[in-house]
Symmetry: C2
Subunit: 235 residues, 2 copies
């Protein structure tokens, strides 16, 4: 936890917060805080700054908070991700969110096993917890928006053309050009399952203006393919 995320209802008054539960346990175990110690804090959806420890109780801690800086700017890229297997889903989301992606579309594709859609990791409480952990890791306060699209064709044909993006890429190991430039424009990138999108799926992406790109012959786990593609293009 590099940043303690604060919620509106942590505030006792304009500058005073009280924290309990998981965050309290983590603060005690990780920072071993003393009165007066300054901890990095950020109000969810808003500014970041410091919280000075004013009181430590057995199950809560009080901080005097000064929110002085803006969260880091978002990456100019939206992510379309074929639903990974549950074990990879959390890592994939973590990777994208810590890099600063703020809009993620989780989609159906041919190689997605139907059972993946029933995984408890997709439930909104579990997902929210993962997103908060990623913001705490990255030092950011802005939650990404995550959308689930369980029908491939209607998403690609009807919804995708309405999503604003100046550049559109789909990761595809075959007959694709290598990444060679850094992109500054607002973009969207689609990353398939480990076995790749099918040729049909690639053709559907191409029909709505996507260019295929590769980063080489090696096959990466999806949680590493995400930072690899995004970083190659945008960082």
């Amino acid at each position: 936890m590099n940043l303690i995320i604060l919620y509106e209802n942590d505030f006792l008054s304009e500058n005073l917060v009280t924290i309990s539960g998981r965050r309290f346990e983590h603060i005690i175990n990780f920072y071993k805080p003393k009165i007066g110690q300054k901890l990095s804090v950020g109000l969810l959806g808003s500014k970041m700054g410091f919280g000075s420890v004013t009181e430590i109780f057995s199950s809560s801690i009080k901080l005097y908070v000064e929110l002085i800086s803006e969260p880091p700017i978002k990456l100019p890229v939206k992510l379309i991700l074929s639903l990974p297997r549950p074990k990879s889903f959390k890592k994939a989301i973590h990777a994208a969110v810590t890099l600063g992606v703020k809009e993620i579309y989780i989609i159906e594709s041919w190689k997605v096993e139907k059972s993946f859609w029933k995984s408890p990791v997709l439930e909104s409480n579990a997902l929210h917890e993962e997103l908060i952990l990623a913001l705490e890791q990255a030092k950011d306060t802005i939650l990404p928006k995550i959308y689930f699209k369980k029908l491939f064709k209607p998403f690609i044909e009807d919804e995708l053309p309405l999503i604003k993006a100046d550049k559109k890429f789909v990761a595809h190991p075959y007959n694709s050009r290598r990444v060679s430039e850094k992109i500054k424009e607002e973009s969207i990138i689609a990353i398939g399952p480990e076995g790749g999108f099918t040729e049909y799926e690639i053709s559907k992406f191409k029909n709505v203006g996507f260019e295929t790109l590769t980063i080489g012959e090696r096959i990466l786990r999806v949680e590493f393919a995400i930072p690899t593609f995004i970083s190659s293009l945008f960082l």
Copy 2:
């Protein structure tokens, strides 16, 4: 397992191999192979190709192997990595190896907890198994060389200047320039612990010709910092 790694002693004759143990179990469970089915194989340290299933027994499988292609070329970058906590170590190694890094120096630094050096994940058998899994994932047959350097100063001052590299970078979030170009030259990149190298450590790297680079303010887990830096510069 996208590639079945073969060892010299799997070979019964020039083209016939028999596989048992973990690889056999995986082949059966993952591929559910039939006689005649072609599987991707590669001889450790050598060529890759296909193995056609000729016989399936209760605890082994025979393949007729044709090795026809070279493994993917290595990335032109060596990695210096401050020893991560054991939980991250395996993931960090996996990330680097699947990207094609073939020379990794695991080093001491101020923020490395001494206990990390005693972790069983560093033992050579455990490490070898991780490396094989990464080659199987990436579809590659060339093992990387991993060196452990438990003394920071002698490594930086005496050994590092002898390691060949045309460009030398150290990841550092403060007072560093952003990555802006793709590098083709043989390079070496040093990635610190999550809290970063100390100013003293950074100065030691600078003394031997390293330039500090940043990919932004967000703090990434080491296993994601590796693909992020490497990909931003080299892919």
